[in-house]
């Protein structure tokens, strides 16, 4: 089956999106997820800033819009989509809070995934006096694009403060779903959120 479905967040999203629904994928890369969703009857649009990825998405027949997410989602109407997806990009954004609120403006629900900084190995790295470097956070402190890392507990707090409802929270490690101690055992968090 599609290699893309090996990504646990994509597998979840594919299960959540129903045929006929409209999906906006922010940072859509080469459009693989949207292509997969389209094959399953959903209608998709993507936003991407990188030239090579825009080209790849066009070659995949995907509705890609070249635009900078840091500028928000001006041009997208309120409530235009059933799902708005931001996959493992939140932690690399400057306007972190703005983009989440923008997602909930244009979408009925948002799917946000990010590497959980509270993962036990990351905590261990810090205890040992170093910034975490792992498969999930494969950067050194001086070259990382990740400027807004957070833990599952932090994101929960953020949602409470901004009156955002968490419809589902799924946490994974090494491709397997974690059912207890999310903030400690999960390296990847996937949230399904709506406006309160």
């Amino acid at each position: 089956m599609n290699a893309i479905l090996e990504r646990p967040d994509f597998k979840l999203i594919a299960a959540w999106v129903k045929p006929g629904e409209r999906v906006l994928d922010l940072g859509c890369d080469d459009g693989s997820l949207l292509k997969l969703l389209a094959e399953r009857g959903a209608r998709g649009w993507g936003v991407e800033i990188d030239d090579a990825k825009v080209l790849a998405a066009v070659a995949n027949g995907v509705n890609v819009i070249q635009s900078d997410l840091e500028q928000g989602l001006a041009g997208f109407e309120d409530g235009a989509f059933e799902h708005v997806i931001l996959s493992q990009t939140l932690q690399a954004m400057r306007h972190t809070e703005d983009i989440v609120l923008e997602m909930l403006r244009v979408g009925r629900e948002a799917v946000v995934s990010f590497p959980n900084f509270g993962y036990w190995q990351h905590r261990l790295d810090i205890l040992n006096g170093h910034m975490p470097v792992s498969d999930r956070l494969p950067y050194q402190w001086y070259d990382t694009p990740n400027i807004h890392l957070c833990t599952v507990a932090d994101f929960d707090d953020f949602c409470t403060k901004r009156n955002i409802v968490i419809r589902e929270r799924k946490v994974f490690d090494a491709g397997r779903e974690i059912t207890e101690e999310h903030n400690f055992l999960g390296s990847l968090a996937v949230y399904r959120i709506t406006r309160g």
């Binding site: 030239d51 825009v54 080209l55 066009v58 819009i65 070249q66 635009s67 997208f76 235009a80």
Partner: protein, 376 residues
């Protein structure tokens, strides 16, 4: 094996005559007219592989290839049409047409007015973008093309692609709108007006009937082109290309050509004025100004574009200030509002509005990738 891409080679224009009168947007009726056109590649048996290339202000039907015995007579968009090129003539049948009102062989102000036997001149009716689309549709009928695989154009050509998608939704499967706009801004109309005034106030204009006086309003047309040309380039590109470079080493303290940019503009103006018809230039700028398909829907562009059934590729260029990326985004946003299929790229290229004519590899790869997905 690497596939080479090359020009379509030697081509020749064709001529189509239309006897059915056409009522123009202005209300005027043109009883008959001719269009010159060229085609590249082969129309397939299903007649499903045709692409219409719409030209901009100074363009024409000679899009690609060269004429017999004249290897320098390359078409104006030769770099994008040919085997292995984005408009791949091994897959597509590409059609270029000189628009009604043009001065390259199609019926226009310099053609004889059947009522007088003299050139139409200023009496040639004003032609709008929608009129071009209707006449192009008649050419499509003649060629047996029910629906275009794609209609593509840059600038004023992109406006025709938009118009096609809205006016003949069943006949356009893809619209490729490059460096274009859903309507001109006041600033754009202002530039056009200055260009027109340059022509209209030339003593050799004679109210548009200069043909009978055996003169041409060359000075006005030259000024119009010089002005236009400035707006087609980017400031950065001009700075890089010309800077403050002088033709000679020292200042001459006179009004002859001193700076390189002056020399360039004068050359471009002279060249253009030597072959282009001033009445056609006037008419084309008015077609640009009048273009506003959303006008029929109280200015609601989304409601207008909702009529289209085509998929869209919209391309803008970062340095284009005459038709800025923001204008392309207006088109994109309207399509998004309707939930229509659209891909949009804002290509980083330094050549301003003229970027759409350049063979930037990324830009061409986008068009090629998009057309590569088009099913016949």
């Amino acid at each position: 094996m690497t596939r080479t891409n090359h020009s379509v080679g030697q081509v020749s224009p064709q001529r189509a005559h239309f006897d059915t009168p056409i009522k123009l947007r202005s209300g005027a009726v043109l009883p008959a007219y001719e269009l010159v056109y060229e085609t590249y590649g082969r129309l397939n048996a299903a007649k499903s592989n045709a692409i219409l290339v719409c030209h901009a202000l100074s363009g024409h039907h000679h899009v690609a290839g060269h004429y017999a015995g004249d290897p320098d007579s390359l078409g104006w968009w030769d770099n994008i049409v040919g085997p292995g090129r984005p408009l791949d003539t091994e897959k597509f049948f590409v059609v270029g047409v000189n628009n009604l009102g043009g001065c390259h062989g199609s019926t226009g102000p310099s053609s004889p007015n059947p009522a007088t036997g003299k050139p139409w001149g200023a009496d040639f009716p004003m032609v709008a973008v929608v009129d071009w689309v209707h006449t192009q549709a008649r050419l499509a009928d003649l060629l047996g093309i029910d629906s275009w695989a794609a209609v593509i154009g840059g600038s004023l050509g992109g406006m025709q692609a938009l118009r096609w998608a809205v006016t003949y939704p069943q006949r356009v499967r893809n619209a490729i709108v490059i460096a274009s706009s859903p309507r001109l801004s006041a600033e754009n109309i202002a530039f056009n007006e200055v260009a027109r005034q340059a022509i209209l106030t030339d003593p050799d204009f004679h109210g548009g009937h200069y043909y009978e006086h055996n003169v041409k309003p060359v000075r006005g047309l030259r000024l119009a082109r010089m002005l236009g040309h400035i707006t087609y380039l980017s400031g950065d590109q001009m700075a890089e290309r010309f800077g403050r470079k002088l033709r000679n080493d020292s200042l001459s303290f006179g009004y002859d050509v001193e700076f390189e940019v002056e020399s360039y503009l004068r050359y471009q103006g002279d060249k253009f004025a030597s072959y282009f018809d001033a009445n056609t230039y006037l008419l084309m700028t008015k077609a640009l100004d009048y273009f506003d398909p959303a006008r029929e829907r109280a200015g609601d562009l989304a409601a207008t574009l909702a009529l289209a059934k085509a998929r869209f590729l919209v391309v803008s260029f970062t340095t284009d200030w005459r038709f800025s990326p923001a204008r392309s985004r207006e088109i994109v946003n309207a399509l998004l509002k309707n939930g229509q299929d659209v891909a949009y790229a804002n290509v980083d290229y330094p050549a301003g509005h003229d970027s759409f004519l350049m063979d930037d590899p990324h830009y061409h790869a986008l068009v090629k990738a998009y057309l590569g997905r088009v099913t016949l």
